[in-house]
Symmetry: C2
């Protein structure tokens, strides 16, 4: 007899994106599909020095079991790193997680009972949708525009659904690239207090701005909205700016939530790799992060400009989009102008044949998918590849 | 209003052991409490070479996002490592997990619906109990003796409860130190087939034998019991023999279970640190593991002998125990002889005052705890410290 699996597995679907990813092995494909940083920008020399220091200076603790809350030197460094980003966070107010994906998982495990409602942006990060559904969440989509979640409609949804929490990627969202305005940020925190509702701020991309820094994070703004700090959980990561392979993320939250997350983490993976934590800690300590950030921002800014220009040039009014001010993504809508198709899934199939790949937008919606949307990542292709890839996309649209 | 946490948190208790661990900071305490390997035995030079090779030879993939299933070179190396332990496992038949704790978590997430019954040994690994309860399992305890789980009673419990699966640590169990006999191993696999019941074999200690290798693992024995391979899931780890800080474990299971575990892992932590995986892979490739194992076995064998001798000498018939043939633990029962106490919790408190720590056995039982039991780890104290610590334990018993 086949095994009987847990009922919670019925809540998630095999991702349509996965099927598409299988096609990426085709030779010569230019891929805008991934959500990966460019490995050419990893500071390998810095990480070599950092991991060498770890095994010379602290091999015992770095190779041993560690506290579930995180390796203390890294918690100290992350506290300092958060301060450079405008947030006052004591080391004991954050825990280290195995990538920020685990921070999301721990929030789900800690907060969601089957049937609980959770509000997310429409569209939002695909893996968040599945992660929360595995814990039995019923997801409600709040609409967004180029300035992030629409706070009036968010308020209506909060009042109507009384969600367990609201999950947002306020800064250069995945997939939307949208940046929540300062005014709306304050409004979100006011809604948290007014409705006594937890807000989860996922912030993997805030460091990756182009011309000017984004508004302060929701976390940083809690100082300006009395009573909001205890209602704000914040997820951070080193994956986009340093290295995803280290799997270093963190969760900042009020004490009771953090304590329960630690208990859940104890039985999830005991603790995050102390070797990876110690390496990240040595790296942050060595002072190379600021110049790494400057470099990464500059390269992604060039690529984003190239992609925006190429989209205008090659696809014209067949597409509508806002140029992102940071992050890794363009969020594009097919307009159907001049008889072009409006089905991004169909375009994806045609595009593969022309030698370019991207991800259709539909799977990023927890409900009511917009089939005309697609996500383009400019992170891993250089300017020449971006121009060639968007030209191919134009050919696919007209094929 | 305080946050409303998920209902599943009501299933677990704050560990009594945690409270005890807080006392371990007392100066001069000799601790037999941990379940840690001795950091003095970590092959730091070997790991330095391995991580150096990673960043010289494969920095891109080792620092990038990786497949949820695991880093392919490590899957290949683990397949080879399993072969040295008598099991034929193709690389695609195993996935890498963030420590074997995550393998347990993924089994729980994949298999357990709230209310499902799971049979475990009484006593068993504490973190397994809590891990499975978080997914809503109702745990049933199967009794053990020095030869592991009693298979006649196990059969009765399987027939009665029709469990989702049976979880066993057949080789040098934690906390029991017990080694399941070859005869009983075969019987367990026959029960799996007879009752169409999944068996989960957790094997963190099998490499740590003293004088002679243990019987083949349940996994290795599936070859001898037709139909049993698909009903056997196996969890392994490098934590006890190489380094817990790498957090490298693995799960071997039939394809459908493995595929669902991969899906759950995708939303738990995306993947295990590729940097740690690549380091482990380079280490296994470099050929130092066999001599590391010889060294570790020899040191632990000496310490186990010293602890057994000291227990006989210092506590005599006030305690009953079997000498373990491998692993990290003595499992001891207070007999109450000569008017000694039979409450291991009370003894633990007295022992701390005398300068020695251990873990009482009660929390290791999912039901019907035996309050007279205690667990002593001989892993981290040298022979002189073991003798002194057991002498103190004798004083505590008579105080």
């Amino acid at each position: 007899m086949p095994l009987q699996f847990a009922e919670r597995l019925n809540k998630v679907e095999t991702s349509a994106i996965r099927e598409l990813f299988k096609l990426l092995g085709k030779p010569g494909i230019i891929s805008f599909a991934g959500g990966f940083p460019d490995p050419a920008m990893f500071d390998v020399e810095g990480l070599k020095e950092a991991s060498g220091n770890v095994l010379n200076e602290e091999p015992g603790p770095a190779l041993q079991y560690g506290a579930t809350e995180g390796y203390q030197p890294l918690r100290d460094q992350l506290s300092t790193f958060m301060a450079t980003k405008g947030s006052t966070v004591a080391p004991h107010e954050l825990i280290v997680t195995t990538g920020s994906q685990q921070a999301l998982d721990l929030i789900g495990k800690t907060m969601i009972s089957p049937g609980d409602k959770v509000i997310v942006e429409g569209p939002t990060f695909l893996a968040t949708i599945q992660c929360f559904r595995l814990y039995g969440a019923e997801l409600i989509s709040a609409p967004i525009d180029a300035h992030g979640v629409k706070t009036d409609e968010l308020e209506t949804l909060i009042a109507q659904h009384k969600p367990k929490f609201v999950y947002l990627i306020p800064t250069f969202g995945n997939p939307s690239g949208a940046m929540l305005s300062l005014e709306r940020r304050k409004k979100v925190l006011e809604l948290a207090v007014k409705y006594d509702t937890l807000i989860v701020e996922d912030d993997p991309y805030g460091d990756l701005y182009f011309d000017a820094p984004p508004p302060p994070s929701l976390l940083a703004l809690t100082d300006t909205v009395p009573g909001s700090r205890d209602l704000l959980a914040h997820c951070g990561t080193l994956s986009k700016v340093l290295s995803p392979g280290l799997r270093i993320g963190w969760l900042i939250a009020q004490p009771a939530l953090l304590a329960n997350a630690v208990m859940c983490k104890q039985f999830s993976d005991a603790h995050t790799s102390t070797f990876a934590q110690a390496t990240a800690s040595q790296y942050l300590k060595c002072g190379r992060m600021p110049s790494t950030l400057v470099h990464v921002r500059q390269v992604y800014a060039e690529r984003a400009k190239a992609m925006g220009d190429a989209l205008k040039r090659e696809l014209g009014d067949a597409v509508a989009f806002e140029r992102p001010r940071g992050g890794l993504f363009f969020w594009v809508r097919l307009t159907g102008a001049k008889g072009g198709i409006k089905d991004a899934g169909e375009l994806a199939r045609r595009a593969i044949e022309k030698g370019v790949a991207f991800v259709p937008g539909a799977p990023f919606y927890a409900e009511n998918p917009d089939l005309a949307t697609l996500r383009l990542s400019f992170a891993t292709a250089d300017v020449a590849k971006i121009e060639e890839g968007i030209a191919r996309l134009g050919q696919a649209l007209n094929s």
